[in-house]
């Protein structure tokens, strides 16, 4: 043992941990440690307690994704890591000379982030040349990676720039910076219709007519140039502060995202809640698709909620294509029948049965507004003649599958309800809740509608496996009713194989 006791020096160990020993002191300590158990133990516990060492070993030796099926995870990890919401996302900005700004994009000094959407981010920026604030919309880098999306972005933006109208947000410039295209618009202080609805709920009739009329007029101007918006929704309708003026934004940008998603997996286009059924089915959209969406916007203004709501993308999709929304007047009895009728006409599944032009609609809304404000001077407009409406038949699973074979892989429907209920309603509803809680697949409503899940074609295999597990679980539940169940339960489940367009497996147990 050459190690003299005075080498055992706590302070020196601390310095070593902070890497603050000079070279020779470091060597000296190293050779001391080779002989002095005590100092080794001391050093290690200074670094971290025993439990830390143990945890570091057990955690770091385990790969974090080992517990997920590797293939499935690998395929999706890119999408999941799409850092849409992270702050480093502004990395494309050049540093600004002025500390008051976040950074610089081309000639614009960026001061704030206004928002972000599927296509990218919207920045508030100062335009030094014109000495005013502008809104700059930058295409998301993951979209810009697709040449098709980039070109579309530029083309649509240029087309939109040609529309000059009071109710359409003007486009000052379309440019590109380091491969990232962006467009420059006036900065509009105010909020979107979506924000307004979130805050205040349904609007007054006069106000919603005023807004609806302006949106219709803006759309008419764009349609006249051959431009279809494709994504008319409350979030794209801006309400300017102070003035009662409405402006539509984001013309044609929805298409940019479509382009990108064709070339890059993992890009999910936004919610289809305000889409027209023909768009949801992937069929070509025309100006009448915008009118359907405007119908949904009017509906939302009247009731405070969008007409085709469901928990999942597919739920919305199914409702769009099949359902008639709940009548407006059931939610808001203050809305007159003629207004509800206008919305219903806009919501015709067949474009030919809707209003045929935005101008026609703008005009009608304007005359209704005039009548409301001056009933004595302006007559109430007559009901417009419409193409004869076919009653939309409610289609069930199979027809739905036939409609979109490319999208749909598999439908699982689970029905569950107490069979042959005795006279006690309370028991019945309690029972339903119990059943609902016990089932792995939640029936959308236990009474009638099945919970249907439609899988993307690409997920067919994993979805099928999952479905089998779930249905097996339902079977098990059936054999072992939920605790406290006193009424026999009926459960029906079916898995539909869309490729074969046939019911692959089916259970009907305890059905009357």
């Amino acid at each position: 043992m050459v190690s003299p006791r005075f080498s055992c020096d706590l302070a020196r160990l601390k310095l070593a941990l902070d890497d603050r020993l000079r070279d020779e002191a470091h060597h000296e300590l190293a050779s001391h440690l080779e002989q002095c158990d005590e100092c080794r133990t001391q050093l290690e516990s200074l670094a971290a307690g025993r439990e830390w060492w143990r945890k570091a070993q057990s955690h770091l030796a385990t790969r974090t994704n080992d517990d997920v099926t590797r293939d499935a995870f690998a395929a999706d990890s890119r999408a999941a890591q799409q850092p849409l919401g992270r702050l480093p996302w502004l990395g494309f900005l050049a540093p600004s000379d002025d500390a008051a700004f976040l950074g610089r994009l081309g000639p614009y000094q960026v001061s704030d982030v206004i928002g972000a959407g599927g296509f990218g981010v919207v920045l508030k920026a100062f335009d030094p040349a014109l000495n005013r604030f502008v809104a700059v919309k930058v295409l998301a880098p993951h979209l810009a990676a697709s040449g098709a999306a980039r070109r579309r972005f530029a083309r649509e933006a240029q087309a939109a720039a040609a529309v000059v109208h009071d109710h359409v947000v003007a486009i000052h410039a379309v440019a590109e910076n380091d491969g990232l295209p962006y467009l420059v618009m006036p900065y509009i202080a105010g909020c979107s219709l979506q924000e307004r609805l979130d805050r205040q709920g349904p609007l007054e009739l006069k106000e919603l007519l005023r807004i609806g009329m302006q949106v219709a007029a803006g759309l008419a101007a764009a349609h006249a140039q051959g431009l279809v918006h494709r994504d008319v929704k409350p979030a794209n309708i801006l309400l300017e502060n102070g003035v009662e003026r409405v402006k539509i934004t984001d013309f044609g940008l929805a298409r940019t995202i479509d382009d990108a998603s064709q070339t890059q997996s993992g890009v999910v286009a936004g919610t289809p809640q305000y889409m027209a059924p023909e768009q949801a089915r992937g069929e070509p959209a025309d100006h009448r698709s915008d009118l359907f969406s405007l119908g949904s916007v009017l509906y939302a203004m009247a009731t405070g909620r969008s007409p085709f709501r469901a928990e999942t993308f597919l739920g919305v999709w199914r409702r769009l294509c099949e359902d008639t929304p709940r009548p407006i007047r059931e939610t808001n009895p203050d809305i007159p029948a003629w207004f509800a009728e206008i919305v219903e006409t806009l919501h015709a599944k067949r474009p030919a049965e809707r209003f045929q032009s935005a101008g026609e609609l703008a005009d009608l809304l304007e005359r209704h507004l005039a009548h409301l404000q001056h009933p004595d001077r302006s007559p109430r407009p007559a009901r417009p003649r419409r193409a004869k409406r076919r009653r939309t038949r409610r289609m069930l699973g199979r027809a739905l599958l036939a409609a979109a074979p490319a999208l749909v892989g598999l439908v699982i429907a689970v029905y569950a309800w107490p069979a042959k209920d005795p006279d006690n309603e309370k028991t019945k509803s309690d029972q339903r809740e119990q059943v609902a809680a016990a089932l792995p697949v939640q029936p959308a409503t236990i009474d009638d509608e099945p919970h249907a899940r439609i899988a993307d074609w690409n997920y067919f295999d994993s979805e099928l496996a999952q479905a089998k597990r779930e249905i097996a679980e339902v079977e098990r539940q059936f054999q072992r009713p939920a605790a406290g169940a006193t009424v026999p339960l009926a459960i029906s489940a079916e898995a539909v194989d869309a490729e074969a367009e046939a019911v692959a497996r089916r259970w009907d147990e305890g059905m009357p």
């Binding site: 470091h26 050779s31 945890k55 517990d67 919401g85 702050l87 809640q273 899988a455 597990r469």
Partner: protein
């Protein structure tokens, strides 16, 4: 499906104090993969799992608003991580149970609910801790020379004898001891900074 990256982004941009930005960033780096994996493990599709991440972020940012309004608020980071844990556990559960429960109002309820201390949340804590170590390792690795890092990894993680590692790395055994402790100390600091000091002990 109602929420979009929009909400997530703009809430961040608006709510977060510049001084807390780092905490948020870390929070998302650690939590996003964690929640995503948990959701996938429970059979969620990719898009649903991504939605779930967003739900957690959204609910958490809502809580931040209330926290910022509190005069007696303490340190941001420990608070954030505690809230996030509760939200994550409750959201995962709720989403798994009630596919048809709706609405943003649920977010608030989810926040107030304390998760039950059961097997499931213990498992989740374990996953979280694992994610935290991996994240911290990734963060601090660049601060060290490769040999220093390897000395830690070979002996601390892969369980090699210091002599063996010393040979492989062509450094003295004593230097291996110093190196691995330096890395460990940094790892601990990094994790403690996120967690508050008493979690991993």
């Amino acid at each position: 499906m109602e929420s979009s990256p929009t909400t997530r982004y703009s809430l961040l941009a608006r709510l977060v104090q510049p001084s807390d930005e780092q905490a948020w960033r870390e929070f998302m780096e650690i939590y996003e993969p964690l929640i995503y994996r948990q959701a996938r493990r429970r059979g969620f599709q990719d898009a649903d799992a991504a939605d779930l991440c967003q739900e957690v972020f959204q609910a958490t940012s809502k809580a931040i608003e209330r926290w910022q309004a509190r005069p007696d608020r303490g340190a941001f980071r420990p608070w954030l991580f505690q809230i996030a844990r509760n939200v994550m556990i409750n959201t995962l559960r709720a989403r798994q149970r009630q596919f048809n429960a709706t609405g943003a109002s649920d977010a608030r309820r989810l926040l107030e609910e304390q998760p039950a201390e059961d097997e499931e949340s213990r498992l989740l804590d374990l996953q979280y801790e694992r994610q935290l170590f991996h994240w911290a390792a990734e963060q601090v690795r660049a601060e060290f020379r490769e040999a220093t890092w390897r000395a830690f990894w070979l002996t601390g993680v892969e369980g090699q004898k210091p002599q063996q590692a010393a040979e492989e790395l062509q450094m003295s055994v004593g230097a291996v001891y110093i190196a691995r402790s330096r890395v460990m100390a940094r790892l601990r600091e990094k994790i403690e900074a996120v967690e508050g000091s008493n979690r991993a002990e």
